[in-house]
Protein backbone atom coordinates (compact mmCIF):
# COMPACT_ATOMS: atom_id res chain seq x y z
CA UNK A 1 0.00 0.00 0.00
CA UNK A 2 2.79 2.35 1.02
CA UNK A 3 4.59 1.47 -2.15
CA UNK A 4 1.52 2.23 -4.19
CA UNK A 5 1.18 5.65 -2.63
CA UNK A 6 4.80 6.44 -3.41
CA UNK A 7 4.34 5.25 -6.94
CA UNK A 8 1.33 7.49 -7.27
CA UNK A 9 3.22 10.54 -6.02
CA UNK A 10 6.10 9.77 -8.35
CA UNK A 11 3.68 9.33 -11.19
CA UNK A 12 2.02 12.66 -10.51
CA UNK A 13 5.39 14.41 -10.57
CA UNK A 14 6.20 12.80 -13.89
CA UNK A 15 2.88 13.90 -15.29
CA UNK A 16 3.42 17.48 -14.15
CA UNK A 17 6.86 17.55 -15.68
CA UNK A 18 5.60 16.18 -18.96
CA UNK A 19 2.71 18.60 -18.98
CA UNK A 20 5.11 21.54 -18.49
CA UNK A 21 7.27 20.30 -21.39
CA UNK A 22 4.23 19.88 -23.57
CA UNK A 23 2.96 23.36 -22.95
CA UNK A 24 6.01 24.87 -24.73
CA UNK A 25 5.81 22.54 -27.66
CA UNK A 26 2.13 23.06 -28.13
CA UNK A 27 2.74 26.83 -28.40
CA UNK A 28 5.31 26.32 -31.11
CA UNK A 29 2.91 24.19 -33.03
CA UNK A 30 0.20 26.78 -32.86
CA UNK A 31 2.45 29.65 -34.00
CA UNK A 32 4.01 27.77 -36.89
CA UNK A 33 1.12 27.89 -39.36
CA UNK A 34 0.57 31.61 -38.68
CA UNK A 35 4.13 32.37 -39.77
CA UNK A 36 3.89 30.25 -42.85
CA UNK A 37 2.00 32.57 -45.26
CA UNK A 38 4.26 35.47 -44.42
CA UNK A 39 7.29 33.44 -45.30
CA UNK A 40 5.88 32.33 -48.60
CA UNK A 41 4.97 35.91 -49.54
CA UNK A 42 8.50 37.02 -48.76
CA UNK A 43 9.95 34.24 -50.83
CA UNK A 44 7.57 35.06 -53.67
CA UNK A 45 8.66 38.72 -53.82
CA UNK A 46 12.35 37.96 -53.58
CA UNK A 47 12.00 35.21 -56.17
CA UNK A 48 11.25 37.76 -58.87
CA UNK A 49 14.57 39.58 -58.34
CA UNK A 50 16.90 36.61 -58.21
CA UNK A 51 15.08 33.68 -59.64
CA UNK A 52 17.47 30.76 -60.10
CA UNK A 53 19.78 31.27 -57.15
CA UNK A 54 17.37 32.08 -54.46
CA UNK A 55 14.76 29.50 -55.43
CA UNK A 56 17.14 26.65 -54.64
CA UNK A 57 18.21 28.35 -51.47
CA UNK A 58 14.66 28.99 -50.42
CA UNK A 59 13.61 25.47 -51.17
CA UNK A 60 16.33 24.23 -48.88
CA UNK A 61 15.24 26.67 -46.22
CA UNK A 62 11.64 25.61 -46.55
CA UNK A 63 12.67 21.98 -46.39
CA UNK A 64 14.55 22.62 -43.19
CA UNK A 65 11.63 24.42 -41.74
CA UNK A 66 9.22 21.64 -42.71
CA UNK A 67 11.56 19.14 -41.17
CA UNK A 68 11.71 21.14 -37.98
CA UNK A 69 7.98 21.23 -37.94
CA UNK A 70 7.69 17.50 -38.56
CA UNK A 71 10.18 16.95 -35.77
CA UNK A 72 8.16 19.15 -33.51
CA UNK A 73 5.02 17.21 -34.39
CA UNK A 74 6.80 13.94 -33.75
CA UNK A 75 8.08 15.29 -30.48
CA UNK A 76 4.61 16.33 -29.54
CA UNK A 77 3.30 12.91 -30.44
CA UNK A 78 5.99 11.25 -28.44
CA UNK A 79 5.24 13.53 -25.54
CA UNK A 80 1.55 12.67 -25.72
CA UNK A 81 2.40 8.99 -25.85
CA UNK A 82 4.71 9.46 -22.87
CA UNK A 83 1.97 11.28 -21.08
CA UNK A 84 -0.53 8.49 -21.77
CA UNK A 85 1.97 5.89 -20.68
CA UNK A 86 2.94 7.60 -17.46
CA UNK A 87 -0.71 8.16 -16.66
CA UNK A 88 -1.34 4.45 -17.16
CA UNK A 89 1.68 3.55 -15.06
CA UNK A 90 0.44 5.79 -12.27
CA UNK A 91 -3.08 4.37 -12.39
CA UNK A 92 -4.24 1.75 -9.92
CA UNK A 93 -3.57 -1.86 -10.92
CA UNK A 94 -5.77 -3.42 -8.26
CA UNK A 95 -9.53 -3.45 -8.76
CA UNK A 96 -11.74 -4.59 -5.91
CA UNK A 97 -15.15 -6.28 -5.88
CA UNK A 98 -18.05 -7.02 -3.54
CA UNK A 99 -18.59 -10.50 -2.08
CA UNK A 100 -19.89 -12.98 -4.69
CA UNK A 101 -20.04 -10.17 -7.28
CA UNK A 102 -18.09 -9.56 -10.44
CA UNK A 103 -19.40 -6.18 -11.61
CA UNK A 104 -16.90 -3.31 -11.78
CA UNK A 105 -17.15 -0.62 -9.17
CA UNK A 106 -17.60 2.96 -10.43
CA UNK A 107 -14.29 4.08 -8.89
CA UNK A 108 -12.36 1.55 -10.96
CA UNK A 109 -13.37 3.10 -14.28
CA UNK A 110 -11.03 6.13 -14.31
CA UNK A 111 -7.99 4.01 -13.71
CA UNK A 112 -9.11 1.45 -16.26
CA UNK A 113 -9.58 4.28 -18.79
CA UNK A 114 -5.95 5.31 -18.28
CA UNK A 115 -4.80 1.73 -18.91
CA UNK A 116 -7.06 1.46 -21.95
CA UNK A 117 -5.65 4.70 -23.44
CA UNK A 118 -2.13 3.45 -23.14
CA UNK A 119 -2.95 0.00 -24.50
CA UNK A 120 -4.75 1.48 -27.53
CA UNK A 121 -1.88 3.93 -28.14
CA UNK A 122 0.78 1.24 -27.92
CA UNK A 123 -0.42 -1.96 -29.55
CA UNK A 124 2.75 -3.76 -28.54
CA UNK A 125 1.90 -3.34 -24.86
CA UNK A 126 0.40 -6.40 -23.19
CA UNK A 127 -1.30 -6.99 -19.86
CA UNK A 128 -2.09 -10.01 -17.73
CA UNK A 129 -5.23 -9.89 -15.61
CA UNK A 130 -5.33 -12.11 -12.54
CA UNK A 131 -8.72 -12.64 -10.92
CA UNK A 132 -8.96 -13.48 -7.22
CA UNK A 133 -11.56 -14.20 -4.55
CA UNK A 134 -11.57 -14.19 -0.76
CA UNK A 135 -11.43 -17.46 1.16
CA UNK A 136 -15.13 -17.59 2.00
CA UNK A 137 -17.15 -20.02 -0.07
CA UNK A 138 -15.89 -23.04 -1.91
CA UNK A 139 -12.68 -23.21 -3.91
CA UNK A 140 -13.89 -24.21 -7.35
CA UNK A 141 -16.74 -21.71 -7.16
CA UNK A 142 -14.27 -19.02 -6.17
CA UNK A 143 -12.07 -19.98 -9.10
CA UNK A 144 -15.02 -19.31 -11.40
CA UNK A 145 -15.75 -16.08 -9.57
CA UNK A 146 -12.14 -14.90 -10.03
CA UNK A 147 -12.44 -15.56 -13.72
CA UNK A 148 -15.65 -13.57 -13.99
CA UNK A 149 -13.96 -10.65 -12.27
CA UNK A 150 -11.05 -10.80 -14.70
CA UNK A 151 -13.57 -11.03 -17.55
CA UNK A 152 -15.37 -7.90 -16.38
CA UNK A 153 -12.10 -5.97 -16.61
CA UNK A 154 -11.23 -7.54 -19.98
CA UNK A 155 -14.61 -6.63 -21.41
CA UNK A 156 -14.32 -3.04 -20.26
CA UNK A 157 -10.83 -2.65 -21.74
CA UNK A 158 -11.91 -4.16 -25.06
CA UNK A 159 -14.81 -1.75 -25.28
CA UNK A 160 -12.34 1.05 -24.71
CA UNK A 161 -10.50 -0.07 -27.86
CA UNK A 162 -7.90 -2.49 -26.52
CA UNK A 163 -7.30 -5.56 -28.70
CA UNK A 164 -8.27 -8.85 -27.12
CA UNK A 165 -4.85 -10.17 -28.12
CA UNK A 166 -3.20 -7.64 -25.82
CA UNK A 167 -4.95 -9.16 -22.80
CA UNK A 168 -4.25 -12.46 -21.13
CA UNK A 169 -6.35 -13.42 -18.14
CA UNK A 170 -6.23 -16.15 -15.53
CA UNK A 171 -8.06 -16.89 -12.31
CA UNK A 172 -6.38 -17.97 -9.09
CA UNK A 173 -9.59 -18.14 -7.06
CA UNK A 174 -8.81 -17.96 -3.36
CA UNK A 175 -5.38 -19.56 -3.70
CA UNK A 176 -3.28 -16.40 -3.68
CA UNK A 177 -4.61 -14.02 -1.05
CA UNK A 178 -2.97 -10.61 -0.65
CA UNK A 179 -3.98 -10.41 2.97
CA UNK A 180 -4.05 -13.24 5.49
CA UNK A 181 -6.28 -11.29 7.84
CA UNK A 182 -9.44 -13.30 8.40
CA UNK A 183 -12.01 -10.53 8.66
CA UNK A 184 -13.77 -8.04 6.38
CA UNK A 185 -10.67 -5.84 6.08
CA UNK A 186 -8.57 -8.74 4.80
CA UNK A 187 -11.27 -10.26 2.61
CA UNK A 188 -11.92 -6.85 1.00
CA UNK A 189 -8.33 -6.76 -0.27
CA UNK A 190 -8.44 -10.31 -1.57
CA UNK A 191 -11.51 -9.89 -3.80
CA UNK A 192 -9.60 -8.31 -6.62
CA UNK A 193 -8.28 -8.26 -10.18
CA UNK A 194 -4.60 -7.52 -10.56
CA UNK A 195 -3.48 -5.84 -13.78
CA UNK A 196 0.12 -6.65 -14.61
CA UNK A 197 2.04 -5.18 -17.59
CA UNK A 198 4.03 -7.89 -19.31
Amino acid sequence: MKFLKQAKVAGTIVILAVLAGCAGQVNEEVTAPAVEPVVSKETASSASTNEVDSSAELAAKAKAKAKAKADAAADAERATAEKIKSKAMAADTLFFFEFDRSDLKQDALNDLDAHAKYLTADRSAKVRLEGHADERGTRAYNLALGERRANSVTRYLVIQGVNRSQIESVSYGEERPLSLVRDDSGWLRNRRVELIYQ
Partner: protein
Protein backbone atom coordinates in the same frame (compact mmCIF):
# COMPACT_ATOMS: atom_id res chain seq x y z
CA UNK B 1 7.48 27.92 -56.18
CA UNK B 2 5.23 25.05 -57.08
CA UNK B 3 7.05 22.91 -54.60
CA UNK B 4 6.40 25.49 -51.94
CA UNK B 5 2.73 25.54 -52.66
CA UNK B 6 2.60 21.80 -52.54
CA UNK B 7 4.52 21.83 -49.31
CA UNK B 8 2.35 24.37 -47.66
CA UNK B 9 -0.74 22.57 -48.92
CA UNK B 10 0.62 19.40 -47.43
CA UNK B 11 1.18 21.17 -44.12
CA UNK B 12 -2.35 22.48 -44.15
CA UNK B 13 -3.74 19.11 -45.01
CA UNK B 14 -1.87 17.43 -42.22
CA UNK B 15 -3.09 20.03 -39.81
CA UNK B 16 -6.62 19.58 -41.10
CA UNK B 17 -6.39 15.81 -40.92
CA UNK B 18 -4.95 16.08 -37.43
CA UNK B 19 -7.86 18.23 -36.51
CA UNK B 20 -10.41 15.86 -38.03
CA UNK B 21 -8.65 12.95 -36.35
CA UNK B 22 -9.18 14.74 -33.08
CA UNK B 23 -12.84 15.11 -33.93
CA UNK B 24 -12.96 11.43 -34.84
CA UNK B 25 -11.38 10.65 -31.49
CA UNK B 26 -14.05 12.55 -29.72
CA UNK B 27 -16.76 10.66 -31.53
CA UNK B 28 -14.97 7.44 -30.81
CA UNK B 29 -14.68 8.45 -27.22
CA UNK B 30 -18.37 9.04 -26.75
CA UNK B 31 -19.14 5.84 -28.63
CA UNK B 32 -16.91 3.87 -26.31
CA UNK B 33 -18.38 5.55 -23.33
CA UNK B 34 -21.89 4.61 -24.34
CA UNK B 35 -20.71 1.08 -24.99
CA UNK B 36 -19.18 0.91 -21.56
CA UNK B 37 -22.40 2.15 -20.05
CA UNK B 38 -24.24 -0.50 -22.01
CA UNK B 39 -21.91 -3.16 -20.67
CA UNK B 40 -22.47 -2.07 -17.09
CA UNK B 41 -26.21 -2.00 -17.70
CA UNK B 42 -26.20 -5.51 -19.14
CA UNK B 43 -24.29 -6.61 -16.07
CA UNK B 44 -26.96 -5.12 -13.85
CA UNK B 45 -29.72 -6.69 -15.91
CA UNK B 46 -28.09 -10.10 -15.65
CA UNK B 47 -27.78 -9.72 -11.93
CA UNK B 48 -31.42 -8.83 -11.73
CA UNK B 49 -32.63 -11.70 -13.94
CA UNK B 50 -30.60 -14.09 -11.81
CA UNK B 51 -32.16 -12.72 -8.66
CA UNK B 52 -35.62 -12.96 -10.19
CA UNK B 53 -34.95 -16.50 -11.28
CA UNK B 54 -33.82 -17.39 -7.78
CA UNK B 55 -36.93 -15.87 -6.29
CA UNK B 56 -39.12 -17.68 -8.77
CA UNK B 57 -37.44 -21.01 -7.97
CA UNK B 58 -38.00 -20.44 -4.28
CA UNK B 59 -41.61 -19.37 -4.69
CA UNK B 60 -42.53 -22.28 -6.93
CA UNK B 61 -40.90 -24.65 -4.45
CA UNK B 62 -42.90 -23.14 -1.61
CA UNK B 63 -46.06 -23.27 -3.70
CA UNK B 64 -45.48 -26.96 -4.42
CA UNK B 65 -45.02 -27.66 -0.74
CA UNK B 66 -48.10 -25.68 0.20
CA UNK B 67 -50.34 -27.38 -2.32
CA UNK B 68 -49.14 -30.78 -1.12
CA UNK B 69 -49.94 -29.73 2.44
CA UNK B 70 -53.30 -28.45 1.30
CA UNK B 71 -54.10 -31.75 -0.30
CA UNK B 72 -53.30 -33.79 2.78
CA UNK B 73 -55.27 -31.38 4.90
CA UNK B 74 -58.25 -31.73 2.56
CA UNK B 75 -58.00 -35.51 2.56
CA UNK B 76 -57.81 -35.52 6.31
CA UNK B 77 -60.89 -33.33 6.58
CA UNK B 78 -62.73 -35.40 4.01
CA UNK B 79 -61.93 -38.54 5.88
CA UNK B 80 -63.12 -37.11 9.19
CA UNK B 81 -66.35 -35.88 7.62
CA UNK B 82 -66.91 -39.32 6.12
CA UNK B 83 -66.45 -40.83 9.52
CA UNK B 84 -68.89 -38.46 11.08
CA UNK B 85 -71.51 -39.26 8.46
CA UNK B 86 -70.97 -42.98 8.97
CA UNK B 87 -71.26 -42.74 12.74
CA UNK B 88 -74.51 -40.83 12.31
CA UNK B 89 -75.79 -43.35 9.79
CA UNK B 90 -74.97 -46.22 12.13
CA UNK B 91 -76.73 -44.47 14.96
CA UNK B 92 -79.81 -43.92 12.82
CA UNK B 93 -79.70 -47.52 11.61
CA UNK B 94 -79.43 -48.83 15.16
CA UNK B 95 -82.33 -46.61 16.19
CA UNK B 96 -84.41 -47.85 13.25
CA UNK B 97 -83.49 -51.42 13.98
CA UNK B 98 -84.48 -50.98 17.56
CA UNK B 99 -87.70 -49.25 16.56
CA UNK B 100 -88.92 -51.70 13.90
CA UNK B 101 -87.39 -54.77 15.57
CA UNK B 102 -86.05 -56.01 12.29
CA UNK B 103 -83.46 -58.75 12.85
CA UNK B 104 -79.99 -57.29 12.78
CA UNK B 105 -78.90 -59.64 10.02
CA UNK B 106 -81.11 -57.81 7.52
CA UNK B 107 -79.22 -54.63 8.12
CA UNK B 108 -76.32 -55.98 6.12
CA UNK B 109 -78.22 -55.18 2.92
CA UNK B 110 -78.17 -51.50 3.75
CA UNK B 111 -74.51 -51.27 4.60
CA UNK B 112 -72.26 -49.93 1.88
CA UNK B 113 -69.78 -52.80 2.10
CA UNK B 114 -69.54 -55.06 -0.90
CA UNK B 115 -71.56 -58.20 -0.56
CA UNK B 116 -71.16 -61.41 -2.52
CA UNK B 117 -73.99 -60.81 -5.00
CA UNK B 118 -72.36 -57.88 -6.73
CA UNK B 119 -71.94 -58.75 -10.43
CA UNK B 120 -69.09 -56.29 -11.12
CA UNK B 121 -65.68 -57.68 -10.17
CA UNK B 122 -64.24 -55.40 -7.49
CA UNK B 123 -60.78 -54.77 -6.17
CA UNK B 124 -60.79 -55.94 -2.60
CA UNK B 125 -59.95 -53.64 0.28
CA UNK B 126 -56.98 -55.83 1.02
CA UNK B 127 -55.49 -55.23 -2.45
CA UNK B 128 -55.69 -51.48 -2.08
CA UNK B 129 -54.27 -51.61 1.41
CA UNK B 130 -51.42 -53.82 0.31
CA UNK B 131 -50.65 -51.54 -2.57
CA UNK B 132 -50.51 -48.54 -0.25
CA UNK B 133 -48.36 -50.47 2.18
CA UNK B 134 -46.00 -51.50 -0.62
CA UNK B 135 -45.52 -47.82 -1.46
CA UNK B 136 -44.33 -47.23 2.10
CA UNK B 137 -41.83 -50.03 1.70
CA UNK B 138 -40.59 -48.38 -1.50
CA UNK B 139 -40.29 -45.13 0.43
CA UNK B 140 -42.80 -43.45 -1.93
CA UNK B 141 -44.28 -41.71 1.07
CA UNK B 142 -46.34 -39.01 -0.60
CA UNK B 143 -48.10 -41.50 -2.85
CA UNK B 144 -48.68 -43.92 0.00
CA UNK B 145 -50.29 -41.14 2.05
CA UNK B 146 -52.74 -40.38 -0.73
CA UNK B 147 -53.58 -44.03 -1.32
CA UNK B 148 -54.03 -44.72 2.40
CA UNK B 149 -56.39 -41.74 2.60
CA UNK B 150 -58.33 -43.04 -0.42
CA UNK B 151 -58.48 -46.43 1.21
CA UNK B 152 -59.91 -45.01 4.43
CA UNK B 153 -62.51 -43.03 2.47
CA UNK B 154 -63.51 -45.91 0.18
CA UNK B 155 -63.48 -48.82 2.62
CA UNK B 156 -64.58 -47.28 5.88
CA UNK B 157 -65.74 -50.65 7.14
CA UNK B 158 -62.65 -52.61 6.32
CA UNK B 159 -60.84 -54.33 9.15
CA UNK B 160 -57.74 -52.63 7.87
CA UNK B 161 -58.93 -49.04 8.31
CA UNK B 162 -57.27 -48.69 11.69
CA UNK B 163 -54.03 -50.07 10.29
CA UNK B 164 -54.23 -47.59 7.43
CA UNK B 165 -54.65 -44.76 9.94
CA UNK B 166 -51.75 -46.10 11.95
CA UNK B 167 -49.45 -46.20 8.92
CA UNK B 168 -50.46 -42.69 7.85
CA UNK B 169 -49.33 -41.52 11.25
CA UNK B 170 -46.07 -43.41 10.89
CA UNK B 171 -45.39 -41.94 7.45
CA UNK B 172 -46.11 -38.40 8.65
CA UNK B 173 -43.67 -39.05 11.47
CA UNK B 174 -41.00 -40.29 9.07
CA UNK B 175 -41.48 -37.22 6.89
CA UNK B 176 -41.10 -35.00 9.92
CA UNK B 177 -44.65 -33.68 9.50
CA UNK B 178 -45.13 -33.76 13.24
CA UNK B 179 -48.44 -31.92 13.48
CA UNK B 180 -50.10 -34.31 11.04
CA UNK B 181 -48.55 -37.34 12.73
CA UNK B 182 -49.87 -36.12 16.08
CA UNK B 183 -53.34 -35.64 14.56
CA UNK B 184 -53.35 -39.14 13.09
CA UNK B 185 -52.23 -40.85 16.30
CA UNK B 186 -54.48 -38.73 18.50
CA UNK B 187 -57.58 -39.59 16.44
CA UNK B 188 -56.66 -43.29 16.72
CA UNK B 189 -56.54 -43.09 20.51
CA UNK B 190 -59.94 -41.46 20.46
CA UNK B 191 -61.81 -43.60 17.94
CA UNK B 192 -60.19 -46.96 18.64
CA UNK B 193 -59.04 -47.33 22.25
CA UNK B 194 -59.02 -51.11 21.80
CA UNK B 195 -56.91 -51.14 18.65
CA UNK B 196 -54.30 -53.86 18.92
CA UNK B 197 -51.44 -51.43 18.32
CA UNK B 198 -52.79 -48.82 20.70
CA UNK B 199 -49.80 -48.97 23.06
CA UNK B 200 -47.45 -48.39 20.14
CA UNK B 201 -49.64 -45.49 19.02
CA UNK B 202 -49.55 -43.95 22.46
CA UNK B 203 -45.78 -44.18 22.77
CA UNK B 204 -45.42 -42.51 19.38
CA UNK B 205 -47.92 -39.84 20.28
CA UNK B 206 -46.29 -39.14 23.61
CA UNK B 207 -42.88 -38.89 22.00
CA UNK B 208 -44.15 -36.54 19.28
CA UNK B 209 -45.99 -34.33 21.77
CA UNK B 210 -42.85 -33.93 23.87
CA UNK B 211 -40.88 -33.18 20.73
CA UNK B 212 -43.47 -30.52 19.84
CA UNK B 213 -43.10 -28.83 23.22
CA UNK B 214 -46.36 -30.24 24.60
CA UNK B 215 -44.41 -31.97 27.36
CA UNK B 216 -47.31 -32.14 29.81
CA UNK B 217 -49.66 -34.14 27.59
CA UNK B 218 -46.79 -36.15 26.18
CA UNK B 219 -45.73 -37.31 29.64
CA UNK B 220 -49.31 -38.04 30.58
CA UNK B 221 -49.78 -40.41 27.67
CA UNK B 222 -46.47 -42.16 28.25
CA UNK B 223 -47.32 -42.64 31.93
CA UNK B 224 -50.67 -44.04 30.85
CA UNK B 225 -48.88 -46.69 28.80
CA UNK B 226 -46.78 -47.70 31.79
CA UNK B 227 -49.76 -48.00 34.15
CA UNK B 228 -51.97 -49.75 31.59
CA UNK B 229 -49.46 -52.40 30.60
CA UNK B 230 -46.45 -52.26 32.89
CA UNK B 231 -45.03 -55.54 31.56
CA UNK B 232 -45.15 -54.59 27.87
CA UNK B 233 -42.25 -53.67 25.60
CA UNK B 234 -44.01 -50.36 25.03
CA UNK B 235 -43.91 -49.57 28.73
CA UNK B 236 -40.14 -49.94 28.57
CA UNK B 237 -40.00 -47.61 25.57
CA UNK B 238 -42.29 -45.15 27.32
CA UNK B 239 -40.17 -45.05 30.46
CA UNK B 240 -37.07 -44.47 28.36
CA UNK B 241 -38.79 -41.59 26.56
CA UNK B 242 -39.79 -40.14 29.92
CA UNK B 243 -36.20 -40.38 31.07
CA UNK B 244 -34.95 -38.65 27.94
CA UNK B 245 -37.50 -35.90 28.34
CA UNK B 246 -36.49 -35.09 31.91
Amino acid sequence: MRLLIILSAAVFMTAASLFSYAEDGQEMQSFRQSQAELMLQIGQLRQETQQLRGLMEELSFQLGQMSADQKTRYLDLDQRLGELVRVQKDAVAVQQAAASKIPAADLSDNTPSVVGGDPIPQISDKDVYNEAFQLIRERKFDESLILMADFIANYPDSDLVLDARFWRGQVFDVLGRNAEAIEAFKSLTMIAPDYRRILQVKVKLGKLLIKNQDVLNGRKILEEVITEAPESVEAGLASRELENAS
